[in-house]
Each structure stands twice: as C-alpha cells, then as structure tokens.
C-alpha cells in the first residue's frame, strides 16, 4: 500500500532493538553468571551501540530506505535487522535473534495500535531517534548523523496528510496482523491481555485536534450554531494535551517509542539487577518499568555467553545456546501466541524481496566488516579478545 512505510518501520524496530541490546549489555556488566565467557565492559557496550547506530543511520542505508517502495516481508525484514544487530563485535545465536525479533515487533505493534493520531507515528519515530541520540551522545559525529537522518525524515514526512499517515499505519498493521505473541512485561503491566490482544483504554485525553465525545451541535443555514445537546459517551475522556513537537528536538508529549526498558531506582526492582540503580535516569518522559528487567534477564540467558568474535571472522555461524531451551523452566517465558508461528511470515513479494533484501543487506553488510567509524577494522576487536583470554 503506502510506499513510504519502510523508513519508519526500520528506524522504530531498530530503535526497539537498540533499547533491548543496550539494556542487556549494561546488565552484563555486573552479572555474576559464571557461564559468561567474558565480561562486557562499558566500553564494549558503547562500541556495540555506536556500531549499530552508525549502520542504522548510515547515509546510503537511509537513502535506500527512503526510496518509495513496497514494504518488505517478515523474512526480508528479519535479514536486515539481523545484519544490523551484527554490525559490531556482538553475535547472537538463532534462538536469541528470534526472541529479540519477537520482542521488538510486539513493542512496535503496540506503539502503532495505540498511536492516537496517524501523524503521531512520526513522534514515536522521533522518540526513538531522541533516545538513540542520548545513548551515543559521547560520539558527536554519530549524533550529527542522526540529526541529519532526522532532518531527512522531517523533510519527507511533514508534508504528508493525515490520510497518508493512516495509509502508512494500515500498511504496518497488515504486516503485524495476527501477531499475538504474549510478552511478559506487557502482560504484567496490563497493557496486553492473556489472549495476546492489546488493552485499549476508553479513558484519558483525546488526541490533539480531537474533541471530547458527547456533544451534538445544530446549525442554521447561515452556519450559526442554534442548539446543542449532549449524549453519554460511555468512556471517561478528557481534553487533548498539547501537540508534540515535530522539530529536530522538543517535547514529543507521547511516551510511545521511549525506552521502556530503562529501569529506575524503584523499590519493586528485581534485586538481580541492582547495577541499574546507579545509572541516571535518561529520559524524563519514560514511565519507569522495573518489570522489564525480568524479561531481559531471560533474554540474557538466551543470549547466553555473548560470544566475542573477531570482526573479520564473519562466517563462524551461530553458537547453539542450550540455555534457550530452559525458557520454560524460567517461568517468565516469552510464550508464543497459539498457532501463529507460520502465519507470521507474510511473503507478499517473493521476487522483489531477494533484490531488496540483498541490496539493503549488502549496504548493511558493508559495515559488518568495516568496523566502527572511528577505529580501524579489527584493532579493538583483537584487543578485546586478548583481554578476554587473560581473564
């Protein structure tokens, strides 16, 4: 349908992926798990984040995304996101990548479904870019790159009408149709039902530009209001909040798209992740979510020993992580929705995919072996590996 969907899809999904990976790599810092092959330092985490962000906001990559085109299938999308995840020294095995993909798609689906006005999709995207900028703020050239990308998004998307945005939303909703994977944070926060459907509140502020339901106005031939009556709306709606900013920076107002994995120093926090209490709160608008850490602890177990492999050693394949099979024992599983495994892959464009995913994956792949922007290929990786061996 809409030819302008892909950039929003990749940036938002990529954003969710970055949130998850960043949080997980921070937790690795003080994780006592003895099965760890090596420990991830804060520098490692920053490096991984920088590399992934650099790839995602690379000029050529973005240009390819912004070209008017149909949406990718799940398979092609998966390929691109896997490449992104592997843009640095970190490797995930198949099972971990599966779970990561499930988590980030359900998170984005939630944001799309709850998006109050179609145009707010852009605000959600900006929440992601704002947060990513914050994550890599020590790297000014990367921040510039993200700003440049944001400027392009503003240029392309601001002229679009509400109808155009709603078509983008329809296109995304077709892609995510029937995905009912139950995510334990969502279930616990009561934003998702046990049947996998998201909770839609019938209360709260109406979207910007909307009126609170309940009023009927009558007009005469001159256009003057002559009478008004009221009706019970059944819900508990309040007036709209102010409009979010569509500029390079500003208050986006909506919290959709902010980092829900950012844990605060809260009493309900899981004791196994006390490391997070020393971190400063990054986003003022984020609703703190300590329960996210339970989900991510599982993810950590699934990611298992984060295998640090040399950058140039591209073809080592994925380490089979036996811990992935323990998810049931954990009790906090990311459980699959019933019978939707096969229907999740929507092969809308079999032929086009091969070309598109090749092109995009090729561009993304160029950074796989190139290393980060600021360092020479392989240098840091070697040092890190050497460090690990000494432990």
């Amino acid at each position: 349908m809409s030819q302008r969907t892909l950039p929003l899809l990749i940036i938002n999904l990529g954003g969710e992926m970055i949130y998850i990976l960043d949080q997980r790599l921070r937790a690795q810092d003080d994780n006592d798990d003895k099965t760890q092959r090596g420990r991830w330092t804060d520098d490692d985490r920053k490096r991984v984040m920088n590399d992934i962000v650099a790839t995602m906001f690379n000029k050529a990559f973005l240009e390819e995304l912004l070209r008017p085109q149909d949406l990718y299938s799940h398979r092609a999308l998966r390929t691109v996101l896997t490449r992104l995840a592997h843009a640095s020294i970190m490797r995930l095995n198949q099972a971990s990548m599966d779970k990561l993909y499930d988590l980030m798609t359900m998170a984005f689906k939630y944001q799309i479904v709850l998006c109050p006005r179609p145009k707010d999709l852009l605000l959600i995207t900006f929440n992601h870019t704002d947060t990513i900028k914050e994550l890599v703020k020590d790297n000014p050239s990367l921040v510039n790159q993200i700003n440049e990308a944001q400027r392009q998004l503003i240029e392309v998307y601001t002229p679009l009408s509400d109808g155009d945005f709603e078509l983008i939303r329809h296109t995304l909703l077709v892609l995510f149709q029937d995905m009912q994977i139950r995510v334990s944070i969502f279930l616990k926060e009561k934003i998702q039902n046990p049947n996998g459907h998201f909770v839609l509140q019938t209360s709260g502020p109406v979207p910007y530009g909307f009126e609170v339901p309940g009023l009927i106005r009558y007009f005469n031939a001159k256009g003057q209001e002559v009478r008004r009556t009221r009706f019970p709306s059944g819900g508990n709606y309040t007036s709209a909040l102010r409009q979010g900013s569509f500029d390079l920076s500003g208050d986006r107002v909506t919290i959709l798209g902010t980092n829900m994995y950012n844990t605060p120093s809260s009493q309900e926090m899981d004791p196994s992740t006390t490391s997070n209490s020393t971190r400063k709160q990054k986003q003022a608008d984020t609703t703190p979510n300590p329960l996210a850490t339970e989900e991510l602890n599982l993810l950590a177990k699934l990611m298992g020993g984060m295998e640090v492999q040399k950058i140039l050693n591209v073809d080592t394949g994925f380490k089979v992580n036996l811990l992935a099979l323990d998810q049931e024992e954990e009790g906090i599983g990311i459980s699959e929705g019933t019978a939707h495994e096969s229907s999740r892959v929507i092969n809308i464009q079999a032929t086009q995919d091969q070309i598109a995913s090749t092109e995009l994956a090729r561009i993304a792949g160029e950074f796989d072996e190139g290393g980060s922007l600021t360092e020479g290929p392989g240098n840091k990786g070697d040092d890190l590996l050497a460090m690990m061996d000494e432990l």
Binding site: F210, I216, G223, G234
Partner: protein, 339 residues
C-alpha cells in the same frame, strides 16, 4: 432500563480483519433466508453465508487478482456488494485493480486494471470506495482522486467503463449512493476523499456535479447518503450532517475519541451506526423535517467492543434490527440484535 441491543453468537472467520475503512459488507438474501458477509484480510476476502436459523455457515475465500505473475501480490482495500435492480455484484478493489463477481463470489465477471507505474512513485496506487447507483451504474474510487463509472448490463459480463469523474485531488476513501429508495431525491451519489472533500453527484449518461463540500484537512473515512442528507464520518472522530444539494452544514457530532472507520444507515427507520478505533459502536436515530430543512440526531445506544479497533459496522437489515461488527486482528464477526 433494558439495553437496546444484546450480543448474539459471533460468526467465525477463516482469517482476521485488516485495519481498513468500512471493512464489512452485508448482503441480505430474503428469498433464501441467508445473509452474506465479507471481510477483507490483506489480499484475501473472507465470505461467509449465514442461514437465518443460525444452523448453517459456509465459507469462501476470494483472492486479489495479480497484475501479472511476476509482480507482488495485491492488497485489497475494500470489498462491497452492489445491489442493482437486476443483479447483485460483489466488487473488490485492490492495489492492482477492480474485480467484480457474481454475488455469491463464484464467478468473476469483470476485471479492470489500474494504471500502475513501472517504478514505484511516492504516491500509492489503489482503488477504494464502491457504490451502486440507480439502475445500472457501479462507481469505484481511485487513489488519484478519480471516480470510475461503470455501466452494468442486467446480465452477462459486458461491463464497460462509461465515464471518469475528476473532481477529487486526494485518494477516494468511500462512496455512497442515495439509499432511501426515494426516487425524487436529486442527489444520487456522494464521494469522499482523504482531504475530507465531499462531492455530491447526479447520475446519468454524464454524471453531473451538484456540489463540492470542502473538508477541513481531515480524512472523511466513511460516508452515507439518505434522503438527500450526507452523513460523513471523519478521522477526528466527528460526524457531520450536510444537506447534500446545497452543502449546508446541519449538525456536527463529537462522536468518537479516535478515527471513525465505518458508518451505516438503516434506510427504513433512519437508524445510524458509527464505529471507530476507540472500541465504541454507537447507534443514533436520524429524523429529517424537509419543510424546515432540519435534522434531528438522537443518540440511542453505546456498545463497547472491549480492546478492539473496530474497522467495520453494518446493519444486517433495512430496519436496523440487527448489526454486525468487525475489528482488527479479530477472526470473528460480532453480532447484536435488538432485545
């Protein structure tokens, strides 16, 4: 006080409903005591026929037609029955074109391909908005804003494109023909687009534009025409009533807290149903006083379909005795009947 409607047994669908405007169409076949329902799921239309005694259900799925084998599959934007005096046709509008079937979906009688550019342009291409007008026209909207008028013979497949109406500049969202059955009504058709512009037409060998009612930069997602009154549902959750020929605004309702997806009228009683992404289905009663050219819209009933983004709501009969609802990701048609 008892509720006006109560929930009935749902009808199961083979696949869930997609988030599209007006994603439910109903055809009541009295002589056979069955009702047909269609719901769009991506590139497939799910058709269910339900016997009135509730005992028999049969399913059929129709696929969108590909332009040619090599290209990608085509997503369907809308499916609706067109009731003409001599025949009923099921019309499917997709990214590639317009398909018309015999009413039971058994045979495709006509295919019209849209002009799709070789390389994708920024503007999406698709057909959307379907209405049967008077005795022999089926009108279909296009994303460019054009309205295609097809001339339909009383039987057979010799359907021809008779006219292309070019008044809209934005993608057509919905179209509706006068449904009161009153032949004295001047306006026959209303078309709506993504900018909220409404065009009111008189049908004929050459369709005549009676009025252009400007929008206010909000998409009009669903529109109805009853006794010369245009009833339009907007992305802002508002419903507006206009006098069709003059374009005078009669009433405005702050009806929903999210985008409206579907409107329907029960022509014999003037019951109006509106449904939106906010999970609410609301039933209203319209009464028109032609002498004073005024309208009264009275709120009758609310139904909250919990946690559902409603995408289709239709009355199942001309009196509004029963209505049916579809929602995004839901694989059922939920039905309600008057208590």
């Amino acid at each position: 006080m008892s509720k006006m409607y109560h929930k009935e047994k749902s009808i199961q669908l083979k696949s869930s409903a997609s988030a599209l405007y007006n994603n439910l169409s109903v055809l009541r076949i009295a002589p056979r005591c069955i009702t047909y329902f269609t719901v769009v799921h991506a590139n497939v239309v799910n058709m269910v026929s339900a016997s009135w005694d509730g005992l028999n259900y049969s399913h059929r799925q129709l696929q969108s037609k590909e332009g040619n084998v090599a290209t990608s599959s085509s997503l369907i934007m809308q499916a609706a029955w067109c009731v003409l005096p001599s025949r009923d046709l099921l019309v499917l509008t997709s990214q590639k074109g317009i398909q018309m079937y015999e009413s039971d979906g058994s045979i495709m009688v006509y295919w019209h391909a849209l002009d799709t550019p070789e390389t994708p342009t920024a503007k999406a291409v698709f057909a959307r908005g379907i209405a049967a007008v008077r005795e022999k026209y089926i009108c279909v909207g296009v994303s460019s804003g054009s309205v295609l008028v097809f001339d339909v013979p009383s039987k057979g497949s010799n359907i021809t494109l008779s006219e292309v109406l070019e008044e809209h500049k934005e993608a057509i969202t919905d179209m509706a023909s006068e449904c009161s059955g009153n032949l004295e009504c001047i306006a026959d058709l209303v078309s709506a687009d993504d900018s909220g512009l409404l065009c009111v037409w008189k049908s004929g060998e050459d369709f005549q534009l009676l009025n252009k009612i400007p929008g206010f930069d909000t998409s009009c997602s669903s529109v109805k025409l009853w006794k010369g009154t245009v009833i339009a549902g907007y992305g802002t959750g508002q419903i507006r009533l206009y006098e069709g020929v003059t374009g005078i605004l009669l009433a405005e309702v702050n009806a929903h807290a999210r985008w409206i997806y579907s409107l329907d009228i029960a022509p014999f009683t003037g019951l109006l149903i509106s449904a939106a992404e906010d999970s609410w289905v609301r039933v209203w009663h319209l009464s028109l006083t032609p002498e004073t050219n005024s309208v009264e819209i009275e709120h009758m009933y609310n139904e909250c379909v919990t946690d559902t983004q409603i995408c289709g709501a239709r009355f199942c009969d001309g009196d509004g005795y029963a209505f049916a609802v579809t929602g995004y990701d839901l694989s059922e048609i939920i039905r309600y009947t008057q208590a």
